[in-house]
Amino acid sequence: MRAGRRLWLAIFLAPAVVLFAAFVTYPILSALAYSLYSWEGIGRRGFAGLANFIRLFTTFPYPRLLVGAFWHNVVVFGLTMLIQNITGLALALILARNPWGARAYRAIFFLPVTLSLVIVGFLWGLFLNPVFGVINKTLGMVGLGALARAWLGEPETALITLTLINAWRWVGFPTIVFLAGINAVPEDYLEAARLDGASEWDVTRRIIFPLLAPAVTIIVILTFIGSFNWFELPYVVQGVSGAPNRATDVLGLLFYRTAFGEVDTGLQDIGVGSAIAVLMFLMLVTVSTVGAVFLRRREVEMG
């Protein structure tokens, strides 16, 4: 019986363990190790210590590309928090009052989340075309022609425009998460406060916001991970070199380009590419771990 139970345990666990170890754990550990070797194309040569990192930090144009791309990720994170998540919060607060059509609105807002970023990217690329696109044409028609510009072509607006496209796709997500958080607030808290004569704003600020903290933490962490993993949208809309003049270059593109080759050459630099991956990896894991611990502690405090 004991032996039988063991055997069954093994049968139940083996497929998942094997699959996960082979295609997640092993590659990730290898990725860390790869950054310490020198590479010739895809062939691994000798142990190189920190040479790849030194090259990444000291050989022009790598350091500048790295800093530029990192900064753009930070900007994307900041703008997404400001635009997408605050909009999401506002929509959630409205929907929580259960206005007419709330269910339908909820479903509509969430719809773009299911669309492929490739579709979203190409679609908005066509809309934003300065000559034939519908956006500038519409602006012209309503008398705002002066606002029309090459949204994706100018270094000042390209990254913001991409972030807005991203927000269009994602805004339903924080909306639903916040909405779930608000709905979890016990109704009698709210009623009691209202009976005490608290205004709606006071109720929102004093009761709903504090209780929404776990949802906020989750959204912040997910936004962070999403922003620093950004790849599809800039790739599809702006191409692998982060046009114009690296204005939309992000770590994901830099990593892909370094590892798999620039536009005009197929030159691969696996060593430096791996070094970039390790840096991104450390950053993401640190932040999500700290975030998770933080989240846990808050939950305990409130529970």
Partner: protein
């Protein structure tokens, strides 16, 4: 009984899916042919059909990719030990990056005797610097020019400008009349590199500068070069509104639909323009130099080569096709159908625009980054394309562009270091 029959049927179906007919019967050899020439697919399909009727045992599938992604996709495919059998390769450094690691099968005169008749200058684009061997059959030479819409020019009584100032005057006139003078945009960096390849040589001194800079006697910081780039800025008022967001497709659309009077690009456009709008009457001219008595420089280069994957299991069939691409018949068809200058010697040019281009080539200079500076990363083209986007958008000065390019190249060009 019924159940057994079903099982049998499913088994057969599975078998058929997993082991395509090749196991069951004599199937032709199937070759894949990758390319970045999405526009030319119809021509390649036609030539492949011709080849297949003569070689019934061979089937070829032409698969084009988006040009900006092509190098990366090819590189990934080849390192994966896969990739196509026949490869449309770029020339010079763009070929070297695939030839040097051994991805491409070297060719010799014994395998492809037709290559003997190609001029050395054309073959140069197919040669690896590493071992000096030839890695492909050159397919075309391209020249960078200015296209203009004859109808629009006639409507406004304009003639082809002979000097830079006349050029600017023509554009000003067009703009005043409400016509977009120039279709060019800056969303895709490579179209800006082409723009510089058209405009700049007259001002930096063409081949003299090319030789000096490739020998390391000067750098791209040289004022002659950066001042030449600065000339591009004078075109900005005549490009479409929001030109920084105008991509290649939009540029083409505008010129084809006669929404813009001129288009700065490469000779490869001729065929495409014709195919898209049969009523389009257009001519070509070389970028006008400072003074009327100067003969203008045009940038030209060997466009690329047809090569063979070193790992192809069908070497013999692939060689057959490669030899076919080196024949006069193929070259003539290529030039006739695509209106591009085939690299095969002896081809007769019948297309009037292409004849003009051919005449311009009497004073040709190598397309600077593509011929001279694509041998290692970061390539001159990568650096220049990004920096030019900055320059055209107004965030970099021409001098800063020269600085960027030189600094980037100095990571692999010793002569540039510390200069």
């Amino acid at each position: 009984m019924m159940r057994r029959l079903c099982t049998a049927l499913i088994a057969v179906a599975l078998f058929a899916t997993f082991f395509p007919a090749s196991v069951l019967g004599q199937e032709p050899v199937k070759l894949t042919f990758w390319s970045w020439r999405t526009e030319d697919k119809w021509v390649y399909d036609r030539m492949i059909r011709l080849f297949q009727t003569r070689n019934p045992g061979i089937k070829i599938e032409f698969i084009p990719f988006r040009a900006p992604e092509y190098a990366t996709i090819l590189s990934t495919g080849l390192t994966a030990g896969r990739g196509p059998d026949i490869i449309h390769l770029r020339a010079y450094g763009g070929l070297e990056t695939f030839a040097a690691p051994g991805f491409i099968a070297p060719l010799d005169f014994e395998q492809v005797p037709e290559l003997k008749r190609f001029p050395l200058q054309t073959i140069a684009g197919a040669r690896s610097r590493k071992d000096g061997r030839i890695y492909g059959v050159p397919f075309a030479t391209q020249t960078l020019v200015i296209f203009y819409n004859k109808k629009i020019f006639a409507q406004h009584n304009l003639t082809v400008p002979k000097t830079w100032d006349q050029f600017l005057t023509v554009m000003r006139t067009l703009k005043d009349k409400g016509v977009v003078p120039l279709a060019n945009g800056g969303k895709e960096g490579w179209t800006l590199e082409v723009l510089s390849g058209v405009i700049a040589p007259n001002f930096y001194g063409g081949t003299t500068f090319f030789e000096a800079v490739t020998r390391g006697q000067t750098t791209f910081r040289e004022p002659a070069y950066t001042n030449a780039l600065a000339k591009m800025l004078e075109l900005r008022p005549y490009m479409p509104t929001g030109f920084m967001g105008v991509d290649y497709a939009t540029m083409q659309q505008m010129f084809i639909n006669e929404q813009a009077a001129m288009f700065i690009g490469g000779s490869w456009e001729i065929g495409f323009f014709k195919a898209q709008n049969k009523n389009l009457e257009f001519g070509v001219f070389a970028a006008p130099p400072e003074r009327a008595d100067q003969i203008p420089w045009v940038s030209s280069y060997a466009d690329g080569n047809y090569g063979i994957n070193a790992k192809t299991p069908h070497m013999e069939a692939a060689l057959k096709f490669i030899r076919f691409t080196a024949t006069l018949e193929f070259g003539q068809m290529f030039t006739d159908l695509l209106a591009q200058m085939s690299a095969v010697p002896g081809v007769v040019v019948r297309n009037p625009q292409l004849q003009q281009v051919q005449a311009m080539n009497r004073k040709a200079t190598p397309y600077i980054m593509l011929v001279g500076f694509r041998w290692q990363a970061p390539t001159g083209s990568t650096l220049l394309q990004s920096a030019l986007q900055g320059m055209m958008a107004g965030t970099l000065t021409p001098a800063q562009v020269g600085e960027e390019v030189t600094r980037g190249l100095s990571s692999w060009i010793d002569a540039f270091r510390g200069r």
